[in-house]
């Protein structure tokens, strides 16, 4: 706690003699000479009633892979329709209402309704449909019904869609009093679909596990405010309910435990206090996560359900002070505790589906984290600001191969605004991770190769640099270049992840060529290289893998609104993305893991015609070309002793034509 004491000392010093920051807030205004009665605002425009627009769209889709539905908003083939809108209402009495809808009718859509009286209350209702399409050609030797997997004989495999759909309904209300706000919200999320699951009964058997669950999230609280302070207390609750408990095979009951129901509760108190140019804030969050769902039936199990309970505590204190117009100091202390209070029992374990007679005890994991940060921001001269900071994160954990780790990081940033039309941001950081002796725990030490260093616990030196240049020489041109480099070295690791570098850039150009013509372009590339070593002999490293990840992203677009007396706007957007990962392994011989990449071309063309001041029609065309491959995806029974869902890679061209009619409310 030495650091936190120093931080408190620092904050007291800051409080004792800091400079008043410039405060142009309306509460600080000198209004003694003002004649309010003359402020009639006759030239002001009063927008009462409804404003905004609503639109209806007819879609024609041609797609032979549901994966295209991610880009198109639906997996339907042929005709579809949707409505969108953004409407706002207000009246003289101070009541306001708004409605925003996006592609309602498609599988990725939302509608939000809000209503409020300024300074009194706010109400909101939100409905969202969120669908993620993975594949429509997954095939299984088994089909699922009511917790039982029934075998299907080849070649009549059971074919199904891999997709996840979330239906989210949210309600929120807020009441604003003179010095307090009271608020409450509720959200229900229903998840349906199918996901890829694997059951291990003598061999791994992949199957489509239906998703059928709900999550209820609740939030209620009150916040208070005074002249120089804020306070908030709130409760957050979350209940997860899975309607699938377990999965069996006709010859192996309860072989697979589905995700258990769980719930989490948190009570949070937070506040802020301002004293001159010093601001302090803090928070205490007390939480509990509970999981006591029934366990699947297993002979010799000592319990029917586990009393899984994790108590959490999060505490934060932060301060920031402007000591002068040039210098700002800040810092924070953050402590978080995860205390797993679940009971421990000895459970009989299987060895390849035969009772081995071996017992194992569950290990409730506890984690304590303390993070200390200090930072300073100093204006060197007009247009030059230097920031620097130090951070230390300390983690204590039980049953880990390393029970204590600490990460130290020094960082600095320099922002240059002194050059006309150019802003430059430079940053650099250096971090080191160390900790207690490896294999310090008797529960785990016997199982581990003594040369192994798990990457998230291992000693690591990390160096990072970055540069961003923004150049806006003309009112209609802006160029932005961002580049970065990071190097991780795990010098003490002989087996495990040994090094990783991440380097890349992003270039963005935007042009406002005239009042009617906009254009943009961007390009970005990233290379992530990592090296790891492994051991088959369980003694010393005898194989080495280099992983080379590459990503390229290109895009451009143009819109021209100067046709037909400025009533017609034509536009085009193009996006290309290519993701690739190569893994090369040397084990006396060299081998390439296989092709693992994806690419996509996305094109959007549109013509928007303003028929009248209220009506507009838009014709758009969207094209998606997508390809991916994965050497791990093999036919269902291609590998002896392994049952997969087949080769559901993607290779498609998909098209969508949209015709929209929109009406402007005035």
């Amino acid at each position: 706690m030495r650091f936190s004491l120093n931080l408190i000392t620092l904050s007291l010093l800051a409080l004792s003699g800091n400079a008043m920051a410039m405060d142009f807030s309306v509460a600080n205004a000198n209004t003694s000479k003002i004649k309010e009665g003359a402020y009639q605002c006759k030239r002001c425009v009063v927008n009462e009633g409804y404003q905004g627009q609503v639109s209806a769209t007819a879609h024609y889709l041609e797609q032979n892979d549901i994966h295209a539905g991610n880009a198109f908003g639906t997996d339907k083939d042929g005709l579809a329709s949707s409505v969108s809108g953004d409407v706002h209402y207000q009246n003289k009495a101070g009541y306001q209402a708004a409605m925003q809808a996006h592609q309602v009718g498609l599988d990725n859509s939302f509608i939000t309704l809000t209503g409020e009286k300024a300074g009194v209350f706010e109400l909101a209702l939100d409905y969202q449909l969120l669908t993620r399409y993975q594949a429509d050609d997954a095939r299984s030797q088994y089909w699922y019904q009511d917790g039982m997997l029934t075998p299907v004989s080849a070649p009549q495999y059971y074919q199904f869609d891999l997709l996840k759909q979330r239906e989210i309904l949210g309600l929120a209300a807020e009441y604003q009093g003179s010095f307090y706000d009271a608020y409450a919200s509720y959200q229900r999320q229903d998840k349906t679909g199918n996901r890829e699951a694997v059951m291990f009964v003598q061999k791994p058997i992949a199957f489509g596990l239906p998703i059928d669950s709900t999550t209820d999230n609740m939030n209620l609280g009150m916040s208070f405010s005074g002249a120089n302070w804020l306070a908030d207390m709130q409760y957050n609750g979350s209940l997860y309910r899975n309607n699938i408990d377990s999965v069996s095979l006709p010859y192996a009951y309860d072989a697979y435990s589905a995700t258990p129901d769980n719930e989490a509760h948190q009570v949070a108190f937070s506040g802020q206090y301002r004293l001159n140019a010093t601001v302090m804030n803090g928070r205490v969050v007390v939480g509990r996560m509970i999981q006591d769902d029934d366990l699947v039936t297993v002979s010799n199990s000592p319990i029917q359900n586990w009393d899984g309970q994790v108590d959490t505590l999060d505490m934060y204190y932060g301060m920031s002070s402007m000591l002068s117009n040039r210098l700002r100091l800040g810092g924070s202390v953050d402590y978080s505790q995860r205390d797993n209070k679940g009971s421990q029992f000895d459970f009989m374990q299987y060895s390849y589906n035969n009772l081995s007679g071996a017992f194992k005890q569950n290990l409730p994991l506890d984690i304590d984290r303390t993070t200390v940060k200090v930072n300073a921001s100093y204006r060197l001269m007009q247009g030059y600001r230097l920031q620097a900071g130090y951070e230390r994160k300390m983690v204590d954990r039980n049953y880990g191969q390393r029970e204590q780790t600490h990460d130290d990081k020094l960082w600095s940033k320099l922002a240059i605004r002194a050059i006309d039309d150019v802003t430059i941001n430079l940053e650099a950081a250096y971090g080191m991770r160390g900790g207690s002796r490896f294999n310090a725990n008797e529960v785990t030490s016997a199982e581990e190769n003594p040369l192994l260093r798990k990457f998230y616990l291992a000693d690591r030196n990390r160096a990072e640099v970055g540069m961003r240049i923004n150049y806006s020489p003309l009112s209609w041109l802006a160029v932005d270049l961002n580049s970065y480099y990071a190097d991780d070295e795990y010098d003490a690791t002989q087996i495990g992840l040994k090094s990783s570098t991440d380097v890349g850039y992003d270039l963005n150009v935007s042009l406002q060529l005239s009042e009617q013509v906009n254009a943009y372009g961007f390009a970005g590339q990233q290379w992530i290289k990592s090296a790891q070593a492994g051991s088959q002999s369980a003694i010393k490293p005898d194989w080495f893998t280099d992983i080379n990840d590459e990503f390229i992203n290109l895009g451009a677009g143009l819109s021209y609104g100067g046709l037909l007396q400025d009533k017609l706007t034509l536009g085009a957007d193009y996006l290309f993305a290519n993701s690739a990962s190569d893994a090369d392994t040397y084990f006396g011989l060299s081998a390439d893991y296989g092709d693992y990449y994806s690419y996509s071309h996305s094109v959007n063309l549109y013509a928007d015609y303003q028929v009248s001041s209220q009506f507009a029609v838009k014709l758009a065309y969207q094209y998606e070309r997508y390809y991916d491959t994965d050497p791990a995806k093999v036919e269902i029974a291609h590998i002896p002793g392994l049952v997969t869902l087949g080769q559901f890679n993607h290779n498609y061209n998909a098209h969508q034509v949209m015709l929209s009619f929109s009406y402007q409310l005035q």
Binding site: N28, C41, N108, P260, S320, P364, L513, Y593
Partner: protein
């Protein structure tokens, strides 16, 4: 197209010889500007007729008049500046600005020479609520990001408050994250089905990376509650930090993974000839085909099966 091409060429040539138009008080240094504005603010010489005085000159500007399309120009909104000191509530007392427009007013955004903290003090005078409780220690505040860098007041709708455009606002600076949205696996950000502010609070928070929940894992659990547990058999890195294995902004690997199985798994598990065996080519055997290590250890986020210590069932 010929006109367009000509204009583009002229623009590229002009790139090296033309600078942006200056404001009348652009010659003042930042300190001089702040001194003058502070003096004006303290004198409190507000205009005789409020917005009507300002609009005598500024009514022709579409950008100025757009204030009336939004909440800040709504006179019936009791908390709107237009229901109080009107234009001068934000831009400060007029003083002698109307005599030729040479006397400075408080202005906002990247072209303003006024310090960011002074600009932001105007907004924070009204927007001082618990949403902004951690602003002062936020990375945006330390980096001198002004409210006007993200928010538009003179508009019918602030793009930063619209779920269909807020991602554009964030990615205009966070270009690396913008690129990440297009990787092989990513949250559905590029179609605006998720937004940056679902996970991050741009005004800062008391959690790491300005996350909206007390911890990184809590933030993930808000949508992925099935991963929350606690499970009878826990997987230590899963319990400790979701980002140990996943990059939430996007990855060239499926499932937002930092590396694929088996390589990712073998960065931690080389305990015997089983986990440590070389898997040099994918699709050749059960260790490199299908879901690799997860073929057997399929409950990688935790198992609740009494016999699930190896996360197999």
């Amino acid at each position: 197209m010929q006109r367009l091409f000509t204009k583009l060429c002229c623009g590229v040539i002009a790139l090296f010889c033309v600078t942006a138009q200056a404001t009348p008080w652009d010659k003042l240094s930042s300190d001089q500007l702040e001194q003058q504005l502070t003096k004006k603010f303290e004198q409190g010489l507000y205009s005789p007729k409020g917005a009507d005085t300002c609009l005598m000159c500024h009514k022709k500007s579409e950008q100025v008049m757009a204030i009336f399309d939004g909440v800040h120009g709504n006179m019936s909104h009791s908390e709107s500046p237009m229901a109080g000191l009107q234009c001068e509530a934000c831009h400060g007392p007029m003083g002698k600005h109307n005599r030729g427009g040479k006397e400075p007013m408080i202005s906002f955004g990247e072209d303003s020479k006024l310090s960011v903290s002074a600009q932001n003090s105007v907004c924070q005078g009204c927007h001082n609520d618990t949403e902004q409780m951690a602003w002062h220690n936020s990375s945006h505040n330390l980096a001198d990001i002004s409210c006007a860098d993200c928010h538009q007041v003179h508009a019918a709708k602030d793009p930063a408050l619209d779920r269909l455009t807020v991602n554009d606002t964030c990615t205009s600076c966070h270009t690396r994250e913008k690129a990440d949205m297009n990787k092989r696996s990513a949250h559905p950000m590029k179609w605006n089905e998720m937004t940056c502010i679902d996970c991050h609070n741009p005004h800062g928070s008391m959690s790491e990376s300005a996350l909206v929940k007390p911890s990184l894992n809590d933030t993930c659990y808000s949508c992925h509650a099935e991963k929350r547990g606690p499970f009878l058999w826990e997987h230590a890195p899963v319990t400790e930090d979701c980002s140990a294995c996943h990059n939430p902004h996007g990855s060239v690997n499926e499932d937002l993974l930092n590396s694929r199985a088996p390589q990712l798994c073998q960065q931690c598990h080389i305990d015997d000839g089983h986990a440590g065996r070389v898997v040099a080519q994918g699709g050749q055997n059960a260790f490199g085909a299908g879901k690799s290590c997860l073929n057997c250890h399929n409950q990688i986020h935790g198992s609740n099966h009494p016999a699930g210590s190896s996360l197999q069932r």
